[in-house]
């Protein structure tokens, strides 16, 4: 009841507010400064989507692409609470949501009534490959050794990841298992609350190997505390001496990504304006700096292309989760 009221109110507000904006704007607005954009972050302050959103907002303002960008958090249920809110704001051309691969899986595990297919895709911004990593005292010297042991006794080779089931670090080992001929159900996956909590268990050898984003572990890798056995992405990572999974003979390519989506039913003008704004962000020096500072890989893909990509990711995630009985 409450939700319906909120939805109705939001719908009413959208109907009342949006036409004047569209009317006064027109095509001439594309490429101009965006005013009063609000960015919804569906996880808590300091989380991945939050850092991306705040960094992008700051870069947009510094580059003079937008003014008064407001970033706000609506955390809950792996991002699906925020997704529900976004979908309810039908037609609101001043709202976008920062999201990523994790939300795709959460839609299934949380049985969310709204899905990403309901949103208007704006742009994919960044990518981060996962790494297959062990502590320095681990018996596994290379990926081949690990795979042999894993195939022999999947239950006795626990794998740790920094996300709950359905999240990126969960999907990566499941896809690896499938490619290696193991049933995903036989994988002994131990979830941790983020890559940080996982780190202690990998360092201490509590899990046989860990799968997580490379960003948080660079220093430990450099210090020799961690050994990277493989990179899950299509290419090697500069500065890290490890093959890709493909090179190691496992036909998997997996990258975590983050991007921006808008509410459903926004006008074409609004959509063009938002895509143009993020395209200009992408080519700004401020964004380049931010990418370098955070160690993110640029993976810009705008509008319809991003929409097709989303649909593809959705299929891939659904397939894995179905086999595990989660979708």
């Amino acid at each position: 009841m409450v939700r319906k009221l909120v939805a109705a109110a939001a719908g009413l507000a959208a109907v009342l507010l949006v036409p004047p904006l569209v009317g006064s704007g027109g095509d001439a607005d594309v490429g101009e400064r965006v005013r009063g954009l609000r960015v919804l972050v569906p996880n808590s302050p300091g989380g991945g989507y939050d850092v991306t959103a705040r960094t992008a907002a700051k870069a947009m303002e510094d580059a003079g692409l937008a003014s008064a960008v407001e970033v706000f958090n609506l955390p809950g249920a792996g991002g699906t609470v925020g997704l529900g809110r976004l979908v309810n704001e039908r037609g609101n051309g001043k709202l976008v949501m920062s999201m990523g691969l994790g939300v795709v899986g959460s839609v299934y595990t949380n049985k969310s009534p709204s899905s990403l297919a309901d949103t208007t895709p704006i742009a994919k911004l960044i990518e981060e490959p996962d790494i297959v990593v062990v502590g320095k005292d681990s018996p596994y010297r290379d990926i081949a050794g690990l795979l042999t042991a894993w195939k022999a006794d999947p239950g006795g080779v626990p794998v740790g990841g920094g996300s709950s089931p359905g999240g990126p670090d969960h999907l990566a080992p499941m896809l690896m298992a499938k490619a290696a001929g193991l049933a995903p159900r036989s994988v002994n996956y131990v979830p941790f609350d983020g890559g940080g909590e996982l780190l202690a268990s990998v360092l201490g050898g509590k899990v046989a190997f860990g799968v997580s984003g490379v960003g948080e572990y660079r220093d430990q890798i450099q210090a020799g505390e961690l050994r990277v056995l493989a990179v899950t992405g299509p290419e090697r990572i500069a500065g890290i001496d490890a093959p890709t999974l493909r090179e190691a003979g496992l036909d998997v390519s997996f990258t975590n990504w983050r991007g921006i989506v808008a509410p459903p039913g926004i006008s074409d003008t609004d959509r063009e304006r938002l895509i143009a704004a993020f395209a200009r962000l992408h080519s700004s020096p401020q964004w380049r700096d931010a990418l370098a500072r955070n160690g993110w890989t640029d993976a810009f893909q705008a509008g319809p292309g991003f929409g097709e990509f989303l649909a593809g990711e959705n299929r891939r995630v659904a397939e894995v989760l179905k086999e595990l009985g989660l979708a």
Partner: protein, 490 residues
């Protein structure tokens, strides 16, 4: 040691001193406001500090963290409304003290406790950092589960006069703790299909609901029979008797809090509670606990601050976040292009030692700031009861809303408040319920993780020396009263 003195030289420059002061004042304010924790504060300030050089920014963040620990207990003690989950325990004895006119003493005991905890904790950080960091990596899920079992064994000390009622209350808490998505498998439990419940119910909301809202409803239901009398305000300072009772808990607290802070399994809730249980067991005034024993405030508060120092150990030496604040600070380091981890002390020694020195400076600043405020805060309780409780309800709602900005949380808050009222009506103690909410999910997670790591073998729970040692202690604690009884009979 030389590096520490260099650190003081860094921390005592006027700019850094000012930033430390800004940090601790902001932190105290944020701690006092319920719902907004230090983690959120640091995250929101992150873009603002872009203009600062990293050392200054981190001095400020550390000030906010320590300040939040200081401020969290203020509303706990005065209004029975914990601002932070670390301050829940302070309400148990702090609030009865405040209501009997000893609010200023409770606040002073908490402030000095935080000072001692911060000082001892930071000193241990300087001396023991590498050792404790090794401990954090060496311990795993079976060890953490053993610690949780120990905590459950200690719960018996706070069950109250009636075991049956105490256990009933504990079960209510454990049930509330079950709500949400199961972390291991992603299945929903007790969410009734509601997305708002999928993340479970925040401990702060449960504590505020059971303590503050339940209490307000209870008072409102009885106000007509008990005419409103303003709460007396006694002498503002700690007397000699208070000091005699509080100094040992102040010193014991950090010893519990510091190692716990460094472990990737706890945060400050479990150690503050363990400190409370310890103080109760050791005290000569055991019957006063729950009715306003100063040890019950002094010990846990010293523990809370020391655990913050422990958290920094794992963060600075391993790049390992053990609490939400540390996770946000790690993200902040990355924003400055600094990778926290084993190489941090070598690469950024000015920053690290400046940061550590500023913790000492910040702790002193906090004491100077908070101690004189204690009598002023305590006067707030002179407000007539109807207005006071209206204010409490207002703060409770602000706090519950601020936790995640969802209106649904307000409904949850009042539902729990009604449970709190009913529990008071039937004489169920509230504290075991809170402990159930804190300990239940944590213990379940560690137990299932341990079993998963051993692929389902039960030996996975006892395959480390540490866990066996802890279980031995638990067995002693449980069996000792029986042995004593048997002996006294013969």
């Amino acid at each position: 040691m030389d590096q520490l003195w260099d650190g003081f030289a860094t921390a005592l420059t006027p700019t850094h001193l000012l930033l430390a002061a800004v940090g601790v004042i902001l932190g105290t304010a944020i701690g006092v406001l319920p719902g907004i924790g230090p983690a959120m504060a640091v995250a929101l300030l992150l873009p603002v500090t872009y203009g600062l050089e990293p050392t200054g920014a981190f001095i400020m963040f550390a000030g906010i963290y320590y300040g939040g620990m200081f401020g969290g207990s203020t509303t706990s003690i005065l209004l029975n409304t914990p601002g932070e989950s670390a301050a829940v325990v302070a309400a148990i004895d702090g609030n009865p003290m405040a209501r009997s006119g000893r609010g200023a003493q409770a606040l002073a005991a908490a402030a000095i406790g935080h000072f001692v905890g911060g000082m001892v904790g930071t000193t241990l950080l300087v001396v023991l950092a590498p050792t404790v960091a090794g401990l954090a990596v060496g311990l795993g899920a079976p060890d953490f589960f053993a610690i949780m079992v120990l905590a459950f064994a200690a719960v018996t000390t706070v069950l109250g006069d009636s075991r049956v009622r105490g256990v009933a209350s504990l079960l209510i808490g454990l049930t509330i703790g079950l709500i949400g998505l199961d972390e291991m498998t992603g299945q929903q439990r007790l969410t009734f299909g509601s997305l708002e419940l999928a993340d479970g119910i925040d401990v702060v909301i449960v504590a505020v609901g059971l303590f503050a809202v339940g209490e307000s409803l209870w008072v409102a239901a009885h106000l007509r029979r008990n005419p409103a009398r303003p709460i007396p305000v006694g002498t503002p300072w700690l007397g000699r008797a208070d000091l005699r009772r509080a100094w040992k808990p102040w010193l014991r607290g950090p010893l519990i809090g510091f190692p716990f802070g460094a472990l990737p399994a706890g945060g400050a809730e479990i150690p503050t509670f363990l400190s409370y249980a310890t103080e109760k067991r050791l005290s000569k005034h055991r019957d006063e606990f729950g009715k306003g024993a100063i040890e019950g405030v002094a010990g846990p508060e010293a523990t809370a601050s020391a655990s913050a120092a422990g958290t920094l150990v794992s963060m600075l030496t391993l790049g390992l976040p053990t609490t939400a604040v540390a996770a946000v600070m790690l993200a902040a380091f990355q924003q400055y292009g600094i990778q926290p981890g084993p190489l941090l002390f070598e690469r950024e020694s000015t920053l690290v030692w400046g940061l550590i020195a500023s913790l000492f400076v910040g702790t002193v600043l906090l004491l100077v700031l908070n101690l004189p405020l204690a009598p002023l805060w305590a006067r707030m309780l002179r407000i007539p009861r109807p207005y006071l409780y209206a204010g409490i309800l207002f703060f409770a709602m602000v706090g519950a809303y601020a936790v995640s900005g969802q209106a649904a949380d307000l409904l949850v808050l009042f539902a729990i408040g009604v449970i709190g009222l009913v529990m008071r009506r039937y004489g169920l103690p509230v504290l075991p319920a809170i402990l159930g909410v804190i300990l239940g999910p944590a213990a379940e997670l560690q137990m299932r993780r341990a079993l998963q790591l051993s692929d389902g073998a039960l030996t996975g729970l006892v395959n480390t020396t540490f866990s066996i040692t802890v279980y031995a202690v638990v067995a002693l604690l449980v069996l000792w009263p029986l042995v004593r009884k048997a002996r006294s009979r013969t």
